[in-house]
Symmetry: C3
Subunit: 267 residues, 3 copies
């Protein structure tokens, strides 16, 4: 219990009102071995997908045992559940609104619903970061058993739609996020790909032509050229070297694309 | 002296020039047991009330002994005093321009004027964060007695105007800050209210009609409805559920309102 | 190896994608005695001079042994070298594109080129913060000898142009940065000045008139007046008290000015 434990913070609060400061104070006051690490407080207001993307990119690099808090929570005060999500290495704390969609898609997890009524302090309907999520982190930091303040959550909310199979060689892909460079993040990660692809490679149909083969780096394509590659944490994306794929292709979040698996020899 | 001590930082510096970085370096170099925690560097330039509001919201959640530095300082280089303010749990360091108004209104405090000439290094007229406030924090962190680098400050600057009594049942309230949601923060905190109210409840006169009763949460009012409630650190505010009270009422900082104390039965 | 070591971060990444978070995770996961300190992630995209200015202002205040990482890297993925720069007190890690120009001008240094192929993990062409710079910091933190992952870098890139001598009493100065207050930062630091000036003082020719003498503080000039003074880390600058020198003089980065050394008596 006296070993250092990191708590990362992601929110759309900005910092200028001191609300993030309040959360930091609660965590540091509740657990002297905690170290708070800012990931971002500049998430666009209510942008759940941007927050989900940030926690996906950052979380896996932290030491095992790290607690990742994400408070982008347009439904604060409504019936949406406050969650603790446990994976093999980390805890995630935040609202049940999809902010952990990538985490669910990536690995095994258990989701628990926080029961804030056991906390013994009043719970506002507007600031669950202070009243529920930071106190839940303190409970984890002080080794309180999950069963003391949580129940199994049942089904959780995810915007990550699994691949839809069209035929033996065709799947329907979905654009699940457009990052701020205009890269189109797709609902397919490397593990799933490796299981399904075998010796075959990927071809994605666009309005005009195809993209063939998965590249390792942007530099594999000439400037201005579109390409398929794995993003920094292993999700398939369509990018444009020195360009903005979303603008060039006029494609946004939610768009459907067809993925074909073709024999490597045909490339 | 070797126990962890937190130092929080609030400023309107932004970060891109490295000036906040310089302050962090001075603190960490001067006291190896210090931990620096960012509260905000995005305070609007020279916005003393916004900084005062942020430190009010964040400060009280930190462990006892925490040092809160606030550098929003339009008068840097003029005769305004550099202060150390001591309360029962914390130290506050910053300029004597009102940034600690809420702290003074809340609890007992002692204010000291820093005498930077004893620091033994040159004091610029533009960067007291580096030359006075961070070094003063180092002195506190290294257990130097206040009397070695401070004198009693005498009267300090506050924008917190106390309630004005109009009659037995009427007081004049003042809007002392509009937060970024448009909530109107008033010059009345829960402790003062409890002493004056007895069994009575609050009614605030507006141009059209009244607001009656103090709610606990935003959700106590239907969407779009105005209400009176305690803010996150116990100050009375007028808010609009899912709306912007300042815009709806066309009321800004400095506006006066009439508070009436009425019998609970009349509600 | 178990003593606290600080790692400061400067980037133009913003925080909202979680990329800075990934770098923090790698450092904290790789070295349990590391403490990560944000200096800025709000550097203007690709603005090497602004990053150079920030690291100049912040770096020297940190404890000896601190590692300063600067990732403003428009040339990521090209042949520009990844560097470790060692000075008597610090390590600097970042791309060889001029971000350390002020560091080179200030003191003795040794520059090394990082050889990321020894890291044993794939190196993307887009995110060297995660793949090269943070891992290099971990190597330093875990006391791996520089020779194991670096080679001497040879010549390094600097935008700091040394003074050009025109005559015994005249030098050509260059504006190397305009800070966000509009102050004109010049390519002359206090050490160089002291060696060259002797008993003489400075006079800078402007389109209309001269500025004479180096002041210690802004307040030495009346409001609105231009003046020459040392900036917070000992570089000569032209500033305007309560004004914007760059706008008033219509002078930008790259502009040349004539510095005259005149006898003190003539002032």
């Amino acid at each position: 219990m006296s070993e250092v434990r990191y708590v990362t913070l992601i929110s759309d609060f900005g910092t200028e009102d001191g609300y993030v400061g309040a959360m930091k104070g609660i965590i540091l006051n509740g657990a002297s071995h905690a170290r708070v690490v800012d990931v971002s407080h500049d998430i666009e207001a209510f942008n759940i997908r941007q927050a989900a993307f940030a926690v996906k990119n950052a979380a896996g690099h932290f030491p095992p045992g790290t607690i990742h808090i994400v408070v982008v929570d347009p439904g604060v005060g409504t019936a949406r559940k406050p969650l603790v999500v446990q994976t093999s290495e980390y805890f995630f704390i935040g609202p049940d609104n999809g902010v952990f969609s990538f985490i669910y898609a990536q690995e095994g997890y258990q989701a628990f619903e926080i029961k804030p009524q056991v906390f013994g302090h009043p719970i506002s309907s507007t600031f669950h970061g202070r009243d529920i999520f930071a106190p839940a982190a303190v409970k984890l930091l002080t080794a309180e058993p999950l069963s003391k303040f949580c129940e199994p959550a049942g089904e959780v909310v995810s915007f990550f739609e699994p691949l839809e199979k069209i035929s033996d060689n065709e799947y329907e892909l979905r654009v699940i996020h457009v990052d701020h460079f205009g890269n189109l993040i797709l609902n397919l990660n490397r593990e799933v790909w490796q299981r399904m692809a075998g010796n075959r490679t990927a071809r994605i149909k666009l309005d005009r032509g195809f993209l063939v083969g998965i590249q390792d780096t942007f530099g594999s394509a000439p400037k201005g050229r579109l390409l398929i590659l794995w993003d920094s944490s292993g999700y398939l994306q369509i990018a444009q070297n020195h360009g903005n794929a979303s603008e060039s292709l006029q494609i946004k979040t939610g768009h459907k694309l067809t993925l074909q698996l073709i024999d490597d020899e045909k490339v």
